[in-house]
Each structure stands twice: as C-alpha cells, then as structure tokens.
Amino acid sequence: MSVILKTEKLRVEFKNRELRQQKKIALHGLDLEVNTGEVFGFLGPNGAGKTTTMNVLLGFVPPTSGTAYLFGIDVREPIARQRIGYLPELTYYYKFLTAEEILRFYAKIFKIPRAETGKRIDQLLKLVELEHARKRPIKSYSKGMQQRVGLAQALINNPDLLILDEPTSGLDPLGRMKVREIIQRLKNEGKTVFFSSHELGEVETVCDRVAIIHQGELKNVGRVQQIMEGYANLEKAFLNIVGYQEQIA
C-alpha cells in the first residue's frame, strides 16, 4: 500500500497582529502519512490545526519549515493538485454562474476534453441530485445545494485523493447521509479520502484510520478500533486524548 499524502516535520507559524507580532504556532512539526485507498479522518477540537494542515497540503499557506507531499510531489508544485479534489468548509461559488457552468469551468482548468466534460457533468449532477437545478444560477441555491455543488466540483477530475474540510457542516441529516454515502462509494471505488470532521459518530462509521491533533501537535494516529480501545466510543476516546475527560466527568 503506497503513501499518497505525507507531511514531514510540518511547522506553521503565524504573526499575530493583535499580540504585536508575537508568533502563533499553528503546527508543531506534524508528521502524517495517508495510504492509498483508505478513508482517513482528521480530528481535533476547534483551532487544533486541522484546516491549517489542509491549507498547507493544498498550497494555500506556505509552511514555515518542513515539507508536505501529495502523490510524492512537493505540494508547492501545482501538478501535485492534478489528481485531487477539494471541498472546503462553507464554500461559496461564483453566484452569477449556474451549477453546470461552474463544473464546466473547473473541467477546463483540469483540461478535461470537451466531449468527456459533458458526460462527467451529467454524472456528477445526477450523483449530487442537482440535475433539476443545473441551469439555475448558484445565488438561487440553498446552503445544502451549494454544498452539493461543492462536492460535484471536487469530483470533476475523478480524483484519486479527496480532501474534505468538514464536509457535513451545516447540512441537514438527509444531506449528511448523502455525503456519507458518497464517501463510502468513493472508498469502494478505491479512492483515498482525507477529511476533517467534528462529527465523531460519522468518522467512526466511515473511516479506516484517524489522526487526532490538538494545539498543533499530533496526539494519536491509528485504526479506529485501536484508538477506541478501552473506551465506549470514539467520542470518549477523543475527549480523553485531548484532555477534556475530567471536565466532562
């Protein structure tokens, strides 16, 4: 099983303007590996460094030190993003475009041939159940519909690695179930999914492995069953690992 996503001693520091240029360390030398074909859950409380890690992996934020690789290619190279799909938390798309136009736009960026683009758009809109609204501008969509457009755009290039930042955030139970189904389907197709979530029940259901990060440091990584060992469920294990158990008790 090959490594598809890897970080080595990843460190990210931000200048904190409010604290007069004092540095805020977002990631302390993060080492992480995700293997091909697994669904990997990236867990941590708010401000733990999950989104920062994803931002580095996607080239949004340059690391202060350390390196990150996708498919063995340094993430600073645009080609590293050729075979990935990304769904950010709370995304908004060009409101003046329709769902079909947005997907066509991203397909052009991936240089997908015109003939194939049409078929791919049809498939994806069917998958996310937006066929009926394909010609409507995004500004007329509900939040759930926008999230589904986001999922469709993340899949436009038929990616081998899908990076999802809290994909079920803000969705109703039906929407969450739909996203879980899609993740499961991708897993069955042999795709790798790397996603962050606060929904521990959901993680427990779909993930093969999870990593728990707290205050920029990796606290635990392993198979879901391994991490849950000695605890009633993943939530209890998570709270214990990040040091909140006593407060809960």
């Binding site: 996607l58 949004f60 645009p78 080609i79 950010p88 908004y92 052009k108 960026i109």
Partner: protein
C-alpha cells in the same frame, strides 16, 4: 493557456451578468442623445461638441468599469472563499493573475467596442463621413491604456486590503496622470532641489497614460498618428502591463490565502 482563458471567461461572464455596464452605457446614450437634440443656432452640422462629450463619457465609463471590475476580482474571491476551490486545482498563482488580467482587459475591450460603435454612429449621423482609421486608433489606444489601468488595479488589489480603497487610490492616480502627467517635467523645472529631482523621477517612472488619450485628434479631425509611433505606444503600454503583472505575481506568490 486553456486554464488562463477559462479564468478570463468567468470574469467576462461576470461583467455582462452584472448591471454596471448596462447602466453606464444607457446613461452615456441618454446624455449624448439629449446633447444631440440641443438646437445650437439652427445648425445641425455642428458635431465636435457632441464628439467631445461622448468621448469624455466613454473615457469616464471605461475607467469606472475597468477599475471597479478589476479591484473586486481577487478581494471578492478571498472574501467569498471562491479562491480556495480554485487554487486547489492545478493552477499557479501567476496563471490566476494573468487569467484575471486578461478577463478584465477583454471585458473592457467588449465594453469599449459597444461604446465606440455608438460613438461612430452618432458622429457619422452628423458628419456624414466615418474616418475609420482615426476611430480605430482612438479605440485601440484607449483599450491598450485600459490594460495598464487593469494591471495596475490588479496589483493594487493585492497590496491594499479593501477594494474600495484600492479603487479610490487608482482613480486618483490615473486622473492625476491624465491631467498633469505630461507636465510634471515642467513643474519639476520650477522646483528647488531635492523636490525637482523627486518630481522628475516620478515623471520618468509613472506610466504616461495621457499619451493614449487621443480624443483631441478625433474631435478636431486631425490625421491619424503615424503608425510607427502608434506601435511604439502599444509596446510602451505592454511593458508597463508586464511590469505590473510581474509585481502582482511576486506579491501574490507567497501570500497566504486561508
């Protein structure tokens, strides 16, 4: 190039789906038609004042469209988080900058085309002749100078945080160049040192946008600008466009977009 043209296509779609252009175009048409209906000493052959007013409105409208459209491109992408899924695709930030630039520039070109067609129709209806080469030169130089303004605004949008402050600064800067740009060296001569050297240095460094404003030649029916100098002016503008885009790429290259 496919990626760059895809990016510019979205900008062009944005322009024609927003109302700004239509509002400015209709206002220009209305003002010009009202001015054309004025009876000046019962002489319906008088045309130059109309050409002057129409060209002034075209210049104002084009600058408003160019600056406001460009100023909001990257800040709006950041604010609405559309930049995240975009940069997660295999594109470089330089491609994004160039795509945005070309989109805004082509959009301005389309806008200018509409405005100049109206201008030519209005002028020809009074003059009964159409100096196509003159109009071509005026429109082409106008479009080229808008390229410099767009590149400048794009660079400004990466330096200044708010689109409104960027747009205001660029407006003042462009208006300043168009009005006193060509006289700065004369102003410098009347100043003591070190002001003289500073003003002269500014004169040499700023893009001389006023060169491209050939409205006077069009209004007063002068012969076309010699093609050699026309070509040189285009190259001069392209050099500034390249300089601003490179500066924008350098600023944007390591900028965190989270």
């Amino acid at each position: 190039m496919k990626t760059i043209f895809a990016l510019s296509g979205v900008v062009i779609k944005e322009l024609y789906r927003r109302k700004d252009f239509y509002v400015l175009f209709i206002i220009t048409i209305l003002i010009c038609l009202v001015m054309a209906s004025v009876n000046v000493f019962n002489d319906d052959k008088i045309v130059r004042y109309l050409k002057e007013i129409c060209l002034l409105l075209i210049w104002l409208a084009s600058l408003v469209i160019a600056i406001t459209t460009t100023a909001r491109q990257i800040p709006a992408e950041r604010e609405q988080r559309t930049l995240l899924p975009l940069l997660a695709k295999p594109i470089t930030r330089a491609q994004l900058i160039i795509g945005k630039f070309l989109g805004c520039w082509f959009a301005c070109g389309l806008t200018l085309f509409c405005f100049y067609v109206f201008f030519a129709a209005l002028a020809a209806s009074r003059e009964h002749h159409l100096p196509l080469l003159n109009y071509f030169q005026a429109a082409a130089l106008h479009w080229v100078v808008l390229g410099v303004v767009v590149a400048m605004t794009l660079f400004g949008s990466l330096v200044f945080a708010a689109p409104s402050s960027n747009a205001t600064i660029i407006f003042v800067f462009v208006a300043g160049i168009l009005t006193i740009g060509r006289h700065l060296h004369q102003i410098a001569l009347g100043q003591p040192e070190p002001a003289q050297s500073i003003i002269y240095a500014i004169y040499l460094v700023i893009p001389h946008l006023e060169i491209f404003d050939v409205r006077d030649l069009i209004v007063h029916d002068w012969p076309v600008v010699p093609w050699f100098y026309f070509g040189m002016a285009v190259l001069y503008a392209l050099a500034y466009i390249a300089a601003f885009l490179i500066a924008a790429c350098l600023v944007f290259r390591r900028k965190a977009v989270n």
